[in-house]
C-alpha cells in the first residue's frame, strides 16, 4: 500500500511536468515510431460495405501498442530512482515492450510469464532474452497471465524499495489503471486528429479487443464524450456457453482481484475461474475497472467473438490488405465481419489494430485448416 501511495504521488508529479512530457514525446517519435498511421482499407471496405480504417498500433516498435505504456512507466521509474523493472506478460507483447525499455534505458528487467504461455509464445520469450531480460516461468495456479501477475506482485512486495512493477494493462490497484490509460490514450488522440483530417468528421464506430483492456481504453478515451459508437470485443473462446472463454464483461460479475473492484470470472464462492482464449493476450479473468464503469453506464457495448471467427478474421485481413493482425486484434476484425450488414457504405469504422500477428503465425499454422 505504501508503495502504491509513493507511485501515485510520483505519477501526479510527472503528469504535470512539461519536461517529462517532452522526454516521453521524444521517445515516442524518435524511438517508438509514432504517430502510427490511420490506414484506409480499400479492399476490406469493399467486401464489408463500410469505410474501414485501421489504427496501426502493429507498427509501433516491438509490434504492439504495449510500448506506449512501458515507455511512460519506465521513464517514471527512472525518475523515482528505481533500479530494476519487473513485469508480467501473457502473450509476451508486454514482456517484449518492457524488455525494450529496459535495454534502451539501461535497467535490468525480469518478466514473469506463465509456463503455458511460454510454450504458446516461444518466439516472444526468445525476443525478451535477446534484449537482456530474464524470463521467469510461473508454475503456480493456471500458469497463465493472472498467475504471472500474482508472482510479479509477490516479487514487488519483497523488493519494493528498489524495484518498479511495470503493469501492462489497465488492471491492478490504483493508480495503475489510470496511469496506463493516460499513456495509452495517445492512440485515441492521434486517431481523432487523423480521422478529422482525412474524413472531415468523427467516425461512426470504433472497435477494439478487450483483455485487460489497455488498447481499447487507449483508443476509446478521447472519444468518450463524442457521438461515436464504441465497441469492446472480448474473447469468446470456444463459446460463452461452454465456460471456456475470457469474456469477463459479457459473462462475469462484480469481484475483487489484484486490488481492483471490477467484473471478474469467478465461481459462486468467489474463486477465480480458469479462462480460455486462442490469444494468450486476452486470457485474463478480470478487466480494467474503467471498462466496468463504461459498461454499467452503457457508454461502451461489450460483445464476444469465438475462436473460429477470430481465425477467419486473421486470414481475411492478411489476404485482403496484406496486414497480419495479432490474434488479439483479430477479435475486433471478426466483430466487424460478423456485423457487416449493420453498416452503411458511408459509415466510418475504425478498428484498433493493437498488434501484429507475426508472433501468432507458428501457432496458427500448427492448427488445422491453415491458410
Amino acid at each position: 500500500m505504501s508503495a502504491l501511495l509513493e507511485l501515485e504521488g510520483a505519477y501526479e508529479k510527472v503528469s504535470k511536468d512539461p519536461q517529462f512530457a517532452r522526454d516521453l514525446a521524444a521517445f515516442q517519435t524518435e524511438y517508438a515510431g509514432r504517430e502510427t498511421p490511420l490506414t484506409f482499407c480499400p479492399n476490406a471496405s469493399r467486401e464489408l460495405g463500410c469505410r474501414l480504417y485501421l489504427k496501426r498500433e502493429d507498427l509501433v516498435h516491438g509490434g504492439s501498442h504495449k510500448l506506449n505504456n512501458t515507455l511512460g512507466q519506465a521513464l517514471l521509474a527512472k525518475q523515482m530512482g528505481k533500479k530494476r523493472l519487473i513485469a508480467e506478460t501473457g502473450a509476451g507483447q508486454h514482456g517484449v515492450a518492457t524488455a525494450i525499455v529496459g535495454a534502451v534505458l539501461g535497467m535490468p528487467v525480469e518478466v514473469y510469464m506463465g509456463e503455458v504461455d511460454m510454450q504458446r509464445q516461444a518466439l516472444n520469450v526468445f525476443r525478451m532474452e535477446l534484449m537482456g531480460a530474464k524470463v521467469i516461468p510461473v508454475k503456480s495456479g493456471t500458469r497463465t497471465l493472472k498467475d504471472a501477475i500474482n508472482e510479479a506482485l509477490r516479487d514487488w512486495v519483497a523488493n519494493v524499495r528498489d524495484t518498479y512493477y511495470l503493469i501492462g494493462s489497465v488492471v491492478g490497484p490504483h493508480p495503475y489503471p489510470l496511469m496506463v490509460r493516460d499513456f495509452q490514450s495517445v492512440i485515441g488522440r492521434e486517431a481523432r486528429e487523423q480521422v478529422l483530417r482525412k474524413e472531415g468528421r468523427l467516425p461512426d464506430v470504433i472497435v477494439a479487443c478487450v483483455g485487460g483492456g489497455s488498447n481499447a481504453i487507449g483508443i476509446f478515451y478521447p472519444f468518450l464524450t463524442d457521438d461515436v459508437e464504441l465497441i469492446g470485443v472480448e474473447a469468446g473462446g470456444e463459446g460463452i456457453g461452454t465456460g471456456k472463454h475470457s469474456a469477463t464483461l459479457c459473462a462475469g460479475d462484480a469481484g475483487v482481484l489484484h486490488g481492483t473492484l471490477s467484473y471478474l470470472l469467478q465461481d459462486e464462492h468467489g474463486q477465480v475461474m480458469p479462462t480460455h482464449s486462442i490469444s494468450a493476450g486476452l486470457d485474463y479473468p478480470g478487466v480494467g475497472p474503467e471498462h466496468a464503469m463504461l459498461k454499467d453506464k452503457h457508454r461502451v457495448t461489450y460483445v464476444a467473438v469465438n475462436d473460429p471467427e477470430v481465425l477467419d478474421a486473421f486470414k481475411f485481413l492478411s489476404k485482403t490488405e496484406g496486414i497480419i493482425p495479432a490474434l488479439e486484434s483479430a477479435h475486433a476484425v471478426a466483430y466487424v465481419m460478423q456485423n457487416a450488414e449493420r453498416f452503411d457504405k458511408d459509415d466510418i469504422v475504425i478498428i484498433n489494430l493493437s498488434g501484429r500477428g507475426d508472433k501468432d503465425v507458428a501457432e496458427v499454422a500448427a492448427m488445422k485448416g491453415g491458410a
Partner: protein, 270 residues
C-alpha cells in the same frame, strides 16, 4: 467481558511468554484431516489457531501456502466447509480462532452474511490480507456488530501515518510482517522485524504478533526477547502437512511435537 483472543494474550503475558499462533489452511488436505490437524495443533499448545480460508489467487502467500490452498480447493473446500470445520473444533475447544482470507471470498458471500456465519460458528477474528485499512470501513463496522476482531497486517514499509490508522481500527492483535515479501520459511528473524516491533509499539497497546518467516525455536526466542506478544507460524506447519500427505497419523504426531518444541522455548524464557 474479555474476548477469547484477549484472554489468550493475557494468559501468555502472565506466564511472561509470547502467545504461539499456529496457522493451517482450512480444508487442507481435506475436511476430516484438517480437523485432525487443528486438534494436533491445539494439543501441542497452540494459543490461537489461524485458519486460512482458501483462495485461488493468494497473492500475499508464498508457494507452500498457495499449494495448500490448491489442495483444499481441489478437495472441494468452500466457505461452508470452513464454517463446519470451525463448528467441529468449537465442540471440543475454546481456543481463539482467526480467519485469514482475501477480500473476494468475503465480498462474494456478502460481508454481512460472512461475518454473521463466522460469528455463529465461533470465529473470533478475521484478517483480510488484500484489504487496505483505507477500504475497511464497511468490514470493520460489520465485524464490530458481530463481535469479531478485525486484524490487520503491518509491514516494514507501512508509514507511521498508516500504522496509526491501522492501530485505531484494529482489535485483537496486530499482525506484523517480519520480512519484506510473502509467507514462507526463512533463515532468521531480521533486524528490520525488531525495528518494526519497536515502531508499532509507540502507537498502540494492542498485542503485537510477528509472522512470516518464523519457524524455529531460535526465531521464537529472538521475537520474545524483542518484546513480541505473539509469534505466528504458518508455512512451517503447512510444510509438515505437505511432507506427510500419505501418512496422516505421522502428520498429526509431528505437528503436535513441533508445536510443543516451539512452546518449550517460550517457557525457558522465564
Amino acid at each position: 467481558m474479555m474476548g477469547r483472543i484477549e484472554t489468550a494474550f493475557a494468559a501468555a503475558a502472565s506466564m511472561k511468554k509470547p502467545a504461539f499462533i499456529g496457522f493451517t489452511v482450512a480444508g487442507d488436505p481435506d475436511k476430516a484431516t484438517c480437523i485432525r490437524i487443528a486438534r494436533a495443533l491445539i494439543a501441542g499448545g497452540t494459543d490461537i489457531l489461524e485458519l486460512g480460508v482458501p483462495f485461488s489467487d493468494p497473492v500475499a502467500d508464498g508457494p507452500t501456502i498457495q499449494k495448500a490452498d490448491e489442495r483444499a480447493l481441489a478437495a472441494g473446500t468452500t466457505p461452508d466447509t470452513v464454517f463446519e470445520i470451525v463448528r467441529e473444533i468449537r465442540k471440543e475447544s475454546g481456543v481463539p480462532i482467526v480467519f485469514l482470507t482475501y477480500y473476494n471470498i468475503v465480498c462474494r458471500r456478502g460481508i454481512e452474511r460472512f461475518y454473521q456465519e463466522a460469528h455463529d460458528a465461533g470465529v473470533d477474528g478475521i484478517l483480510i490480507a488484500d484489504m487496505p485499512v483505507e477500504e475497511s470501513g464497511e468490514v470493520c463496522a460489520t465485524a464490530a456488530r458481530y463481535g469479531i476482531d478485525p486484524i490487520f497486517l503491518i509491514t516494514r514499509t507501512t508509514t507511521e501515518d498508516r500504522i496509526r490508522k491501522i492501530a485505531e481500527k484494529a482489535h485483537g492483535y496486530l499482525y506484523l510482517v517480519a520480512v519484506l515479501g510473502v509467507t514462507g520459511v526463512r533463515g532468521q528473524v531480521s533486524e528490520g522485524a525488531i525495528d518494526l516491533l519497536h515502531r508499532v509499539r509507540k502507537h498502540t497497546r494492542l498485542p503485537l504478533a510477528l509472522g512470516f518467516g518464523i519457524s524455529t525455536p531460535a526465531h521464537t526466542r529472538t521475537c520474545a526477547r524483542a518484546g513480541a506478544d505473539g509469534v505466528i507460524v504458518g508455512s512451517a506447519i503447512v510444510e509438515i502437512v505437505e511432507r506427510n500427505l500419505s501418512d496422516h497419523d505421522t502428520m498429526v504426531l509431528e505437528l503436535q511435537d513441533y508445536v510443543q518444541s516451539m512452546r518449550r522455548v517460550h517457557e525457558s524464557q522465564e
